[in-house]
Amino acid sequence: MSVWLESVGIAAPGLISWNAAREVLRGTQPYARSDVPPYAPSLLPPNERRRATPTVRIAFQAAEDAVQGSSIAAAELATVFASSDADLNIIHRISHALTQTPRLVSPTDFHNSVHNAAAGYWSIAVGARAPSSTISAYDFSFAAGLAEACTLVEIEQLNTLLVAFDLPPPQPLYAKRPIACTAGVALVLTPTRTAKSFAQLSCAPSRESITTASTPALEELRRGNPATAALPLLEKIAVGLSGRVVLPRSDDAGLAVEVSFVEAR
């Protein structure tokens, strides 16, 4: 599978946007870890912006960052949202409410609890009516989402936005699912070369060992969230040298991603 890459978005500790992250990942700025500050999605209407859950906010932050660098209007993009667990804050609140008498589940919580809530808000916010999928593959969700996005691009010939995101759950779930930080990563992929295309990505299953991040701090970040499993790929993209990374796709297999840079037109 081979697709064109137009733009990248990120919101992760110490990597607040793709512009900032690029400097850090190519080594021209030091990495300073700090949590992602609260974000008000600019594409949501004001009343929805206030009510948006942290899950919707992080997905929008990465998606908006990627869309900003893209030549394609957000409304025209198909989407793949990839998240291991989506909103465990809500699962916690509902699970707790179900142990109480009476059992009062918040209707807003319930409709925001669906795994595809972020995808739903996104399509409403930008008016996107194209195909949209929301997937989970546990810690392997980024690679699984990338593969799913690539098939949408290649087989359906759709310009596609991939958004991967996860958040730490509250206790007591955190002890069972210790996602260390809030993070989102997004890519805009196209079937044909556009004026903004700067690299081609080719994906294939691989048994090679997983690529790690280049520094201990970034490696810690890579391991801390299913979305930041993308970091070795983003490092390659930031440096601008063609090459290959292997991202985790299961406990014992990977997805090899070949990155080939082209001159911007």
């Binding site: 595809n116 739903g120 996107a128 009516r129 989970s136 098939t151």
Partner: protein, 392 residues
Amino acid sequence: MTPLPISAYTVTSALGAGRDAHWNALRSGQSGLRKSQFDTNTLDCWLGEVAGFNTPLPPALAQWECRNNRLALFALQQDAFMNAVAQLKARYAADRIGVFIGTSTSGVQHTELAYRERDPATQALPDWFQHRYSQNIFSIADFVGHVLGFTGPTLAISTACSSSAKVFASARRAIAAGTCDAAIVGGVDSLCLTTLYGFNSLQLVSADICRPADAARGGISIGEAAGFAIVDPNAKGSMQLLGYGETSDAYHMSSPDPEGQGAVASMRAALKSAQLAPEQVDYINLHGTGTMANDSSEGRAISTLFGNDKPCSSTKGWTGHTLGAAGIVEAAIAMLCIEHGFLPRSLNTRTKDPAIEAGVLMEDRHAPVRVVMSNSFGFGGSNCTLLLGSAA
């Protein structure tokens, strides 16, 4: 698209385990919905509960323990599906078979049980609770891949009530892109208090039995189900996936667009991918949840595209709304309709809503059925339409 052969399929729902149980219930008009007691549910509602499966997993699978995985394992034993899996294994390498499973809540019922056993002092969850193998959305896909021994691309699709319709589209793309040679597709959702009390909080659960398209319909009856199919481009199955459509409403998180534009676009996309005209569709299995909003919106969409004479019905009066499993359940029912030349009536519908002008079947019909359209629409405005047909 080139039609994609479906070489085997199985379904388990409140109608029973396997295809024969479903066919018998369909032709005899026997609903699987009961006013049964599930867990500690106190809501006054009808449920589509599956009988006979809720026993512990075998010791080798113990870490996967949860109601959803139990239901999946039970459903995989029906209709000699495991024999078809063995044939698939003989034909392809294990890492060339993809696994695409739809679910809305995976094993969250296990989390509900764990929350009842929190440590009073520390609030810690019990040791037996393993998030990865139960509650996590991927658990069901991982479990099915593990049980069947397939290691190709494995994915859970979770787009609420369209989840297990969309698995057909993802699997077809993966096969076309060469990332796998064939695939297991399916959907599993099991009863839990999260969905019961959640839908109830949105005032969408009916105290009465689910009555799709009825003038006095009061909402959904929640059911549980599991279904699986094998899509294999090199097989000579009698059934085929002819096309699919996927669209987004871009309207509201939990209400469909009243004009049904997203639904129309989804059905149009399916027809286009199958290169079929509306008149070539013999029967439409509606999403037909029995809520005021869904049935009105979908009825309008059907009338827009097919006029008011196209035979259509919802089969949720039989199975209840099986949420993330609805897509695969209704794909299986569509294939039974084709096999048996049968168009089921809208069960439990007494007086058709005069505002729904579409050709909702009030009586069963026996007639040749070559092409069935099946609609699945979910929260977040996620629409998917499948076209299934007999191989020429």
